[in-house]
Amino acid sequence: MARVVVDVMPKPEILDVQGQAVTRALGRIGVAGVAEVRQGKHFELDVDDSVDDETLHRIAGELLANPVIEDWVVRRTSETVQP
């Protein structure tokens, strides 16, 4: 089994209100200098060798992300996972 990472982020033109709330909270813990935070989702999938890249992009585009509002990146890691 190999580990695949899918990162899903709101598209740049989508107002990320959750990220904005985090940005504002940084001031409350005494941190200055962070201009912007954007909040997304990180998925880790353990897949066997039969799952090809096309299938991974289908998983990301049809389920993990909503292409109307989100972009995604699929990345195979070098990590192997014991089934």
Binding site: P10, E13, I14, L15, V17, Q18, A21, L63, L64, N66, V68, I69
Partner: protein
């Protein structure tokens, strides 16, 4: 006329939707998310709630439920489908309506009586309303902000597919104050506020919501 109301795990407003269907003079038919069968209904309501806990994104898992395969096929054949709140989110996730619903601009869950303007009476669910009619129905949602790319919004506006617009201030930051939209053929309609909670002044702010359910009586399948 038989109108199906789908229940997913986490649906909250199916009972009120069934009651609204009955008030309008139609026969409500309870449908289950795991079914592959629409039980011969003439129209479908996808009610509000938190289907499958709204895990992943609001409506995303429900849009892939077995019964949604049947709903998509029926909608393609012209069956009227109404999505309310979580149902609107489900129809957008299923690709039956354009755009998406994201977190309210103010981050707060909103619960209030909301004024709306009926912008289009050229749909299966607003045919009995008058154009420009103002209605008051409850709004209760945390992810009700309608978004779409500029091209999609321009197309919706140009084709008269913005069905409901917020009045008296935009509650959630929705683009162009959009509260509800329709499919290109006007058979599928989705909106964030809850007409099914406003069908009797005894239990709601008005009976303004009933007009959606009476409208569909005059919009038979395939007409």
């Amino acid at each position: 006329m038989r109108i199906g109301v789908i229940t997913f795990p986490g649906t909250l407003d199916d009972v009120d939707a069934i009651r609204a269907v009955r008030y309008a003079g139609a026969e409500p038919v309870a449908l289950w998310h795991g079914d592959h069968d629409l039980a011969g209904v003439d129209a479908v309501v996808v009610p509000g709630g938190f289907s499958y806990g709204d895990y992943l994104r609001a409506g995303a898992i429900a849009s892939l439920a077995p019964i949604m395969t049947e709903v998509k096929a029926a909608a393609a054949g012209g069956m009227p489908v109404l999505g309310i709140c979580n149902g609107f989110q489900i129809l957008c996730e299923a690709g039956l309506l354009p755009g998406a619903l994201v977190r309210n601009a103010g981050l707060h869950f909103l619960c209030r009586d909301q004024r709306l303007r009926v912008e289009s009476t050229d749909t299966a669910w607003t045919g009995a309303a008058t154009a420009g009619q103002e209605i008051v129905v409850p709004l209760k949602s945390g992810e009700g902000r309608f978004v779409a790319d500029a091209e999609t919004v321009a197309r919706l506006e140009g084709e008269g597919r913005v069905v409901f617009r917020y009045l008296g201030g935009n509650p959630n930051g929705a683009l162009a104050d959009i509260a509800g939209v329709a499919s290109a053929d006007g058979r599928v309609v989705g909106l964030m506020p809850h007409p099914e909670h406003a069908i009797d002044p005894l239990t709601g702010p008005s009976d303004d919501g009933l007009v959606l359910f009476t409208s569909v009586l005059g919009a038979a399948v395939g007409s």
